[in-house]
Symmetry: T
Subunit: 156 residues, 12 copies
């Protein structure tokens, strides 16, 4: 079914839609991981980390919606189903059960770090193909690096 | 690590925490499925279904948070990770790619129906063990059945 | 026309939908009666009773919407037409014309009392058939009994 | 009981209060009819019509309050009881049970059309007797004709 | 100093500006009288009357601004100075000192009645000269007659 | 295509729809002219005039929507396309390029004056044919004359 | 009629209630004078002065309510009637008719200056008698002197 | 003085009103204890615990109002006076003076634990007598157990 | 445990902290007494007094927080526990059970009067020791005397 | 008249201001076209398309203001007059009269497509000359392509 | 240039304006220091201290505006330039680079302590010269001492 | 102390952090300069310029926070202390004392011009090193150039 006429050439569309699909999976998983730790964190910093994680969830949910709708706008149907997220996410699986606050912060430093590395590659890859999508990746990276700083500062 | 002292007996805690964990997985998957269709729906009813699906997402996200935190409050760490959701959800996998609006509505009727059946079993199973958790399942069922009616009415 | 697949057995559906239809008629009439007195009350307590009655109207309108949509969700089309309300309401007809504030308060004590009695019967009747609908009736009863107390306190 | 001193002559008061009482009954019934269809509509346009009908309900409730309080302000107690509405409304009785979206729109076109015709007669009848009440009828007519256009446009 | 070019003929401008200036003085005085009683009322209905009077003040202040700016828009500078209000108001002087709630309500019935009579004369006088100003007087009369009803209902 | 059944006679419909179409064009052009000056004004009063013009834009946009939808409600499709506006507007073309604040105020005095003259003719023309539309023109005139006063006061 | 038992000695009550009554009259008149100029100002600074004057009106109305209710709280009925204001205000009568913006600013500098001088005397007079009332006068003086600065700065 | 007619039998009323009175005392004391610690907590987690305690205060105040008004609605006057609270509360007395953050968290774990145990007994005791009151106790228990989890997680 | 370094001398700190501790107890008890009457008042003025009492509760809760935190800021841990309030409050114990509206108003006049007398002593006692705390007592007294007037006016 | 000193070289200023002027005309016309169809659309999807079009209007109005003010900020007076829009817009003229909902969606697909093509050319043309303006064009393109997707999805 | 006529004598003006200028410098520097630490703090309490510091920034910015405008209102132009702040602030220079959370709290305890000492001297110095300015210093001191307590409590 | 791991190479980090530190100093100084003039401006345009300057302050404060936190996110501690600002700002020192409105506008034109020149250099310098930071500089430049236009327009 052909739905949306892409404003991009085929090659550009392929480059950009791969980047968008990858970002979608990373961001959905980031929202699930942040919620998982939000519910399971324990320790003296419980409340602070619990609240901070919901801000990561907000960021991840908002941007996942943006990149999925951007893919649709470029004529490529996005895939954000649970199995796809479980198979393709760039974030390492977090352990189940209660997690100490110090470990929770480490887990987020790692998860954000993994997503940021891939997001910066998307910024580099898409500039020629589609500056509109690149601008979206730039904005996402800015938000993720701000969260990344805060969690690093917290375990310094 | 022992964190939270359960107000329930061991048997009751087992019954209730199984129900809560099952509900958590169903509700997270419902939020992912509703978003997936939200992005991929096409057809003359696109806008109406697109907006309606975000209301399902809101319901699913709010209640998934409630049941996960209820599990924590009963001393049982919840598991809402992508792989767990992909493996344990009561909702059938939705197809990838664009989906016609009529099919989108059918998909939601099916997904909501599956979750409702399981949620009503949880209402029945937890009344003796923990009326507090049962009351949460009752409230969730009410909301899901309202969404279910609307999607059924739409394809009538 | 078959529209919505009921999650209940036939017998349970009959019990619950009778209760919901009865509640719908009572609540619509309560909203009309409260508005009627809101416009016709006179006496030194005019302003206080006039404002208080609009809070009853809000309660009655909100809950009438909930029970009607609950009936639809159970596969039973609700009937809230004027003639149905006039014929089936559990509230005695209020007199036309100006009404003294003392009489206005008495009228509301009687109207609320009549609806509460029937609503408590619905709570008792529906617990086995559908705890979801029962929970709605319980919430409605709580609100009505709070209004009932206030009008009784006012004429004490 | 004499309560409010009318600013109008007896003849003018009679003309205007008849018009206000008629408008009150029509508007209350419009709110009940719109809610009835809001709950019972089915078909592909369900969500759109369902939402649109609540805007009619808002219009009808707001204006019914205005005309009832205007009657009181002119010294004539208004009558908005269910039996009065059932007996005196200018709107034809709508059928019970589920209603297809196309029929729902037709029903509203008819109901609004009936009320508009009578409301325009009230505009014509009250200009000399009381320009204040006439101005209220003019404002109501504007709102009703806007709703009327939208439902007609929908079935065009 | 000639400032604003009137859209009206000289005769029409004279008729309308007299009406607007008269309304301005009445409305400013109504706001002062309502505040005076707001501060001095005593008795069991103190709180109810105290709050009700601030709603009269809001009405009077809003409409006084409208009529003054309407005069300016017609090229006639309005006069709302204290001495002018004291000399030209259509409201009888209220007594100083504490005022019983029953007397307070009577005072407002009288004050509103006096302003309404004059405002209805303005509606009649300005229809031909300027329907725009007439429409403003009609709207003011509607609000004042609503307040008038409420105070009369309160002492019924 | 016949869409909306007019509540007016053919003659009345012709009179009123001409007036509405004329008002639509004037109001759209007023919004464009006010924005044009909003962007191009310079001089010591820049900020004050710049902000004031956006209030004119708000007024013009709101009322243009009202008259266009009123035309639709009377069964006459409105025409607000750029070429129609350019050809039929009652406002003289404003010059391109920067405009001194004093000239900007003069331009608005002229533009508003031209629209007001035509709007008052519409008030006079439509009273018999359709008091509902007339009431809309009266409200528009009131707002425009208020803006007109302010710009005149500013250059006095 | 004895209503409120004063927390002050007779002598202190006399001192403080004189100060409060004087402040009430000054503040009401300030609100009337500011509105008078708000409606009648003309000139290139029209919009700026017009808006600024409504902030003075807000200040004057808020504080007049506070001092009147403070008098009541001390057992002394306040007098804010038009004739009292016209006779006792510390502000010189402003001229009628259009007023140039430069003159408008001068008028406010003078009016605010007159009220400030008297308000500072009230601060000095009431410190021993009632520090609660003194604190109110101090807060009023701060607000008035801020307005005073702004109008002086504007004509500098 | 007989004020409110109970909808319950005498025996049921006795059971339920004892439960409500007990809950009222516990919840008021919880609000006082949480404020006491809110003011006296010190240590590195000061800010986090200080803010968290105000959320407990909000919960306790809201629910204490609900249970007191529920008692009134059942015809039993509630008693929330300081001496009654001091004598009947289920919470152990907290020490005076500064309290280290770790001890503050322990104190809340204990206080919440004591109230939860009694609240669950009330859920069990009132199901037959009055499902409306039981539903209120269920909702309170859910909120308290959520707070309980958070404080336990914090000291884990 | 030494926590906060006082900005005051030892003597001044003693004077001020005694005043703050006394005010804290009075204000907490005022909030409990006002709630007690809020729940138990009956009679024709029920609604008015019921609402008015919640405004007293708001005032008392806000100021009790301010004085307790002020004590902490001066290095003195505040004591707001139930037993302390029951033992040290300046307000006479109110009777249990339903209370007629007239008696309710009297009870508040007495309670507010008792607190005001002590609060004025605190204003007098703390001016030299700490003008910052004195300013807080002055603000509290202003609010309490305003409530006091209103209840006195109501029983006049 | 030289007003604003451009931060760009002459050549860069020429490139960028041509792009901004072109975007201004396209966006104003898009707002007029979307409103035109908003008023004239008919058919079963009337309400959905009617509401969707107002979101296009909001996007077009917001961005037209941004590009016009950006031109001013670069020292080039923008031209958004009706005749300029009619002559220079990149959007084909839409037909007058009622338009079926399917055709309405097609019209928007075409209009948005035309503007997007030109906007992407502006992104390409301005990167070297002024990355600040380019960033504005990128943001506009993202919003327009999102609307474009939705209308395409609707007719798929 | 003489701009604002001081309401104070020359001597009083000198005393008060010195105090205001000193407070201005201290408060601007406090806002800069709090922001500096807000950006550079690291350690487990990062988030808590980071958020707390923005509340100090809000306090400092609000009060710096108040004292600067108070100086203007007394006829003395305030000086809040960077070099003046750097030269005259009462706060010791904070070190550059990352700062551990414990040190961050100490730095704020010291900074607030320094400003409070000087602010209390201003309270003492200005009471006779200008009670209006003194009241402003009292309010500032209350806010600063509350922040001071919180940071001290945090390192206790 | 190593806190945050930079996502950039050492060379890129050096380039970008120099740009961010320079922007931070410029923006803080811009906020101080704008406030300085906000307090000291006099002349007929006082109110307009006074308000306009607070919008510059808002822009400068918001962006200074963004660039400082961006530096932290890149692993480089920002320096926004008063002495650093005084020494490194790109804005010329503004004179002390009252400033005529014309001069105030000139001062802002100069200050904004100086910051814009440096900000455009940062846009050019950072594109290769870090497109995320470059995007922030682009956004800041857009806002500053809009303010710059407005002040230039005002003195044209």
């Amino acid at each position: 079914m052909h739905v949306v006429k892409s404003p991009l050439s085929n090659a550009a569309q392929k480059t950009v839609s791969d980047a968008l699909q990858g970002a979608l999976v990373d961001l959905i998983d980031l929202s699930l991981v942040a919620k998982q730790v939000h519910w399971n964190v324990v320790g003296p910093r419980f409340r602070s980390v619990h609240l901070q994680l919901d801000e990561v969830v907000d960021t991840a949910r908002t941007h996942s919606d943006t990149v999925a709708e951007r893919a649709s706008a470029l004529g490529v149907p996005p895939d954000g189903r649970a199995a796809t997220v479980a198979a393709k996410s760039g974030i390492s699986v977090v352990s189940e059960g209660w997690v100490k606050d110090t470990d929770a912060v480490e887990a987020l430093v790692a998860a954000l770090g993994a997503v940021i590395t891939r997001m910066r590659e998307r910024v580099a890859a898409t500039g020629d193909a589609d500056p509109v999508s690149q601008d979206i990746f730039i904005g996402i990276t800015a938000d993720l690096e701000k969260h990344h700083w805060m969690f690093q500062a917290e375990n310094a």
